[in-house]
Amino acid sequence: MYCVITAAPIDILEMMQHVRRDADGAVLLFSGVVRDHDGGRPVTGLRYEAYAEMASQKLTGICKDVSAQFEIGDIAVVHRIGELAVGEISVAIAVAAPHRDAAFKASREVIERLKREVPIWKRERYADGEEVWLDGTIPNPPTAG
């Protein structure tokens, strides 16, 4: 299992090879990709920022929870930070499992929790030159005041 925050392009083949064991019959790879639009507005790129130490720790916790919840083998998550162009992979989740049902459920759970809990932010760059930090999700834990 590994959970990494990195400024380097994501090597999805390496992730898939890393998670697969001979007992696995399914490998599911989810990739989040930079889109050229958001709510109808043309987007030219994104900048991701993370609280890297906490983000990788949170991701590791999520992966451990999901491994206990579903019958999967190994799992790897990589989230990229820095400037990304349209079409680049911002996040990849590789899950291997003996059977596909668990792989689908685990992958979905990781991306949903990542988006709710992990301290990562994105700034959208629009075609007209404006840049905006995207409205995000307030993590579940009680606010500190």
Partner: protein
């Protein structure tokens, strides 16, 4: 009679829109020993620009989300976490 010796020094981190609001990504702050997270937040709210921070703040102490009554320790890393938007 007790003598309180020394101070509590913590590192505050501000990310994304909070960094822009406060004009800095990192602050070293001093508090009296035994101070709680809520007191630190009150101090942060006195900084220039801080009135643009939301009323409810999510804060992590040493990489864990923490409530306002958390007692701080010397050397703690206190991160102010804007609403998250990874993925």
């Amino acid at each position: 009679m007790r003598c309180v010796i020394g101070v509590l020094r913590v590192k505050c981190l501000f990310f994304a829109v909070y960094r822009e609001i406060l004009g800095t990504g990192e602050l070293e702050l001093e508090l009296p020993p035994g101070a709680r997270l809520a007191e630190l937040i009150a101090v942060v709210r006195t900084r220039p620009g801080a009135d643009a921070l939301p009323l409810a703040l999510v804060v992590a102490v040493n990489h864990e989300y923490a409530p306002g009554d958390t007692v701080l320790a010397d050397g703690d890393e206190i991160a102010f976490i804007p609403p998250v938007a990874g993925g």
